[in-house]
């Protein structure tokens, strides 16, 4: 099982690693499974599939996770519908308006989605038996267990190393308003990306909205996803990305792209992102099993190879990243996110014009 921890990632070794995990699981897992999990598996096998609306991880990561799940629990397929979080939420809302149930497992980076869905009574209460194995911060986020935090995204500053020397790189969010970065920055859009919404709420809390009116003087290039700057930096079109996902940056670096990242000294943005099972999920048992899987060490190890920070103390941080408790983290409370995101979306459009 330790083979997953290979220091240098290549797709082939990764594939081998997930396959090894799966084979190991196939041989021994059924007996190892705790009773509740075994029952769940039996019920889930009859359903045969789980549809995952995901705005938390990249398509490639999602497919690998789905693959690992299928290996661990043969007979159940994962369909990954990856998009930005706001788009995933839009799709779920549409399903619900049409009264059609298609989504089994919903993962976005906007906490507000879950508070709203919970109030509307749209969610199924479930707490996987292995939640207590996770770090204390996420063990009991909702007293009614309508959703669970199973993912944390770190968002920070990235640079193109060919264009920006390490010594010149910005050190903080505040540095990015320096006129020397005029025409060089790139950022996502809170209307699409959930995490950029949280970023805007958090930075507004720290520095006031003036931070963004100052940022606009540097004419950043606006994309949609928080990952968009990564492509622009790779191409050399822009040199500094803000609010870029650490995982995507590390993944892109592992392929040989000329990128580097900075933990801002005024704080790295941590977005604790919930997942939930809709009340009308067509495959509720498979969804519960998938939620259990997402809390497991197997998941954390697979996700780690795609540089997703684990929420389990027993899995080390991804290669090249610091452990969560070694980083100065900033963020916003669920209430701040639910109220703030719609406000910053509107303010963003007034300030940046899109």
């Amino acid at each position: 099982m330790d083979r997953v921890n290979t220091p240098h990632l290549s797709k082939r070794s990764l594939l081998a690693a997930t396959a090894a995990l799966g084979l190991g699981a196939r041989a021994g897992r059924a007996q190892e499974m705790p009773a509740p999990e075994r029952e769940l598996y039996e019920a889930a096998k009859k359903e045969g599939e789980v549809t995952w609306y995901s705005g938390q991880v990249q398509a490639e990561t999602g497919e690998a996770v789905g693959h690992a799940f299928g290996q661990a629990y043969p007979g159940i397929k994962v369909y990954v519908i990856r998009s930005t979080s706001q788009v995933a939420y839009q799709r779920l809302s549409q399903d619900m308006q049409a009264g059609v149930a298609q989504c089994d497992f919903f993962s976005s980076t906007d906490y507000g989605h879950y508070l709203f869905l919970k109030r509307e009574g749209k969610l199924l209460s479930y707490r996987p038996h292995n939640m207590d194995e996770l770090i204390p911060e996420v063990r009991a986020v909702d007293p009614d267990n309508m959703f669970q935090v199973l993912n944390v995204g770190l968002y920070l500053i990235a640079t193109n190393t060919r264009k920006v020397a390490a010594a010149d790189a910005p050190k903080s969010w505040k540095d990015l308003t320096d006129p020397k970065w005029i025409g060089q920055e790139a950022v996502g859009h809170p209307g699409y990306s959930g995490s950029i919404g949280v970023m805007a709420v958090t930075l507004r809390k720290l520095y006031g909205w003036e931070y963004f009116t100052d940022l606009e003087k540097n004419k950043p290039q606006i994309g949609r996803s928080s990952d968009d700057p990564v492509t622009l930096l790779n191409a050399g079109e822009r040199t500094v990305g803000l609010g870029v996902s650490l995982s995507t940056t590390l993944l892109s670096m592992s392929r040989g792209n000329p990128l580097s990242f900075i933990y801002p000294n005024d704080g790295t943005l941590a977005v604790y992102s919930p997942s939930a099972i809709p009340k009308n999920a067509p495959h509720p048992n498979a969804a519960k099993l998938f939620m259990t899987f997402t809390a497991s060490a197997t998941y954390a190890k697979v996700a780690r190879t795609f540089f997703i920070p684990p929420l389990r103390p027993d899995v080390p941080p991804p290669e090249g990243a610091l452990a969560l408790d070694k980083v100065k983290l900033i963020g916003a409370t669920p209430q701040e996110i639910e109220e703030g995101v719609p406000e910053v979306k509107e303010a963003w459009r007034d300030t940046f014009g899109v």
């Binding site: 990954v80 859009h189 290039q221 191409a235 079109e237 392929r255 792209n257």
Partner: protein
């Protein structure tokens, strides 16, 4: 619009109905029903939604919300200007190419056709990304080359501008005009040009005064369709427009669908676009009024290429230039991306890989499924659309019923409804019981059929305008039924045009994003939607690979199509 037109042959329909039980009348009734269901029903639903609050109370508040802010109104205006510019550039690209390919002895016609086809099947999303890599102001290849050659520090071209966006959109849409105009030009017989020549006009004058005016309806309808498509386009404005800080009506509509979803405001915002369609159809009628464009009669006619000396190479140069910009350069840069391990490392042997392809084919749960969905949805909707279009065009051009022009309007209306709104109309109309089509293949096929009916219709109707009724009348006099006449006389005469129409609808359907994005379910995802999702994942390499798989498959299907219909299919060598 309500001009009655039955006075031409008032006895025709009556006679047909009374002499023998002509099935035709039932077909016309069915046709009307289908059009009402596909077009009028979703639109009515949208109109009703726009006039009510969520709770069902009548209100004009949605219109106030939709147009109450300067930013919202500006977006709509931007879209109209952008679409007009796109259509104008497309005409400049397409008409000389179509004329050169159809009427002259320009060499390399097959190759030019391949270039046009290539730029047509390149999904707009991919083309846009190709142009970002080519014409990004800092790192675009074109600008790097320019700086290297000229030593300048400013970029030569910048894709993130209004004109940049219009050019990229024109590269994607000029083939529509090309195909329309070329198929019309193919039907104009040389005798008309000869007559002009005999009366002392040179080649240039003959083209300007005789040939082009004869195909004026095709140019106009092509340009209108490009205009309407550009107003409704979502993908390219999202990927280029947002970074360029350009808000268009479609990106604005998207915002109304954000949480909290305001479908009713979006519906209100979309309504004026329908007025624009009406205006367009009116303008078209005004411009074509009282002129005859019949070029194909029962009397045959001869078509010869116009002989050019050196001029034919100038023409070829122009065609190659357009082809280079619209398809060759973007495809080259995308090909490089699709085989790159890391785009940021540039071109190097160690950076080459097949991983992006193997990932999609072997390790991606839904990539192959999305390819299959794309092909079958597009094929089914193209067939439905062409069949409907032929029947409607026949009714309209032969003025069989009183409300024929109403049918024409219904058939043309969908194109101006932004794909997103169309999707919401379909969603509102068909998702819930009694239809319960949400998440099924049927809702996407129906939406595609309705959405592309105007292309098929414009194609069928301009083709129908070139066939004189005398041939059908001959068959009718000899005892053939109306449907028999269509099947044995009209359709075979129009075979080439109809197949061209089918192919166009098929191709645009494979590329269609805006209508699909709100109607797909987890089990009906198309490649365009998958491409859109991938475009947000910070990974152009995999995206390009998926794009190439789509291109390769589309090419195979087109190849089969050409084989079946004969080699000169849409490629007539005059």
């Amino acid at each position: 619009m309500s001009r009655t037109a039955t006075f031409d042959r008032p006895t025709f329909a009556v006679r047909a109905a009374s002499r023998s039980p002509d099935l035709a009348i039932f077909v016309w009734i069915a046709l009307t029903g289908v059009l009402l269901l596909l077009v009028a029903f979703p639109l009515t639903k949208l109109l009703l939604v726009s006039l009510h609050t969520r709770a069902g109370v009548f209100t004009f508040g949605n219109y106030l919300a939709a147009y109450g802010r300067a930013r919202y109104v500006e977006s709509l205006w931007t879209s109209l200007v952008l679409a007009a510019e796109t259509a104008a550039i497309s005409v400049v690209f397409a008409v000389p190419m179509a004329w050169a390919t159809s009427r002259t002895n320009m060499p390399g016609k097959s190759f030019v056709w391949v270039l046009v086809l290539g730029s047509f099947i390149l999904p707009p999303y991919l083309g846009a990304i190709g142009w970002i890599l080519l014409a990004g102001p800092n790192a675009g290849f074109v600008n790097q080359a320019w700086r290297w050659v000229s030593g300048a520090s400013d970029p030569l071209v910048n894709v993130y501008t209004f004109n940049g966006l219009a050019f990229v959109m024109a590269f994607q849409s000029f083939p529509l005009i090309f195909i329309f105009v070329k198929s019309a030009l193919d039907l104009v017989s040389s005798e008309m040009e000869d007559a002009a020549n005999i009366l002392g006009a040179g080649t240039w004058t003959a083209m300007r005064k005789v040939t082009l005016p004869l195909v004026w309806p095709s140019i106009l309808s092509g340009a209108i369709i490009v205009f309407l498509e550009a107003v409704a386009l979502f993908g390219t404005p999202a990927i280029i427009g947002i970074p360029a800080r350009i808000n268009t009506a479609t990106t604005q509509l998207w915002q109304f669908f954000e949480y909290p979803v305001r479908v009713e405001v979006a519906a209100a915002y979309a309504m004026p676009l329908l007025l624009i369609t009406l205006l367009m159809v009116g303008v078209q009628r005004l411009m074509l009024r009282r002129k005859g464009f019949v070029a194909q009669t029962g009397k045959g006619g001869e078509r010869r290429p116009i002989e050019f000396g050196f001029g034919r190479f100038v023409l070829l140069g122009y065609c190659l230039c357009v082809g280079l910009l619209s398809v060759v350069l973007p495809m080259l840069v995308l090909a490089e991306a699709s085989f790159a391990r890391a785009w940021g490392r540039g071109f190097a042997l160690s950076n080459l890989t097949f991983d992006n392809y193997t990932f999609l084919i072997f390790r991606h749960e839904s990539a192959l499924g999305s390819i299959w969905h794309t092909l079958w949805f597009s094929g089914a909707s193209a067939s439905l659309a062409v069949l409907l279009a032929l029947l409607v065009a026949y009714v309209v051009s032969r003025k069989l019923v009183r409300f024929a022009s109403g049918l024409a309007f219904l058939a043309m209306a969908p194109f101006v409804i932004p794909g997103i709104v169309m999707a919401i109309g379909f969603y509102a109309a068909f998702a819930a019981p009694p239809f319960s089509l949400y998440g099924t293949a049927a809702i996407i096929i129906l939406a595609f059929t309705a959405r592309f009916l105007p292309i098929a219709y414009a194609n069928a109707s301009s083709a129908m305008g070139t066939v004189h009724p005398e041939m059908e009348e001959a068959a009718r006099i000899l005892g053939s039924s109306r449907l028999g006449t269509i099947a044995r006389i009209t359709a075979p005469l129009l075979k080439r045009s109809l197949l061209g129409g089918w192919l166009i609808v098929f191709i645009v359907a494979t590329r269609e994003l805006s209508a699909a994005i709100f109607l797909v379910g987890p089990n009906t995802r198309t490649m365009a939607v998958l491409l859109y999702d991938l475009s947000e994942a910070g990974n152009f390499e995999v995206l390009s690979a998926l794009g190439f798989i789509l291109l390769a498959i589309t090419l195979v299907f087109i190849g089969i199509g050409m084989k079946l219909v004969g080699r000169d299919f849409m490629l007539r060598r005059t």
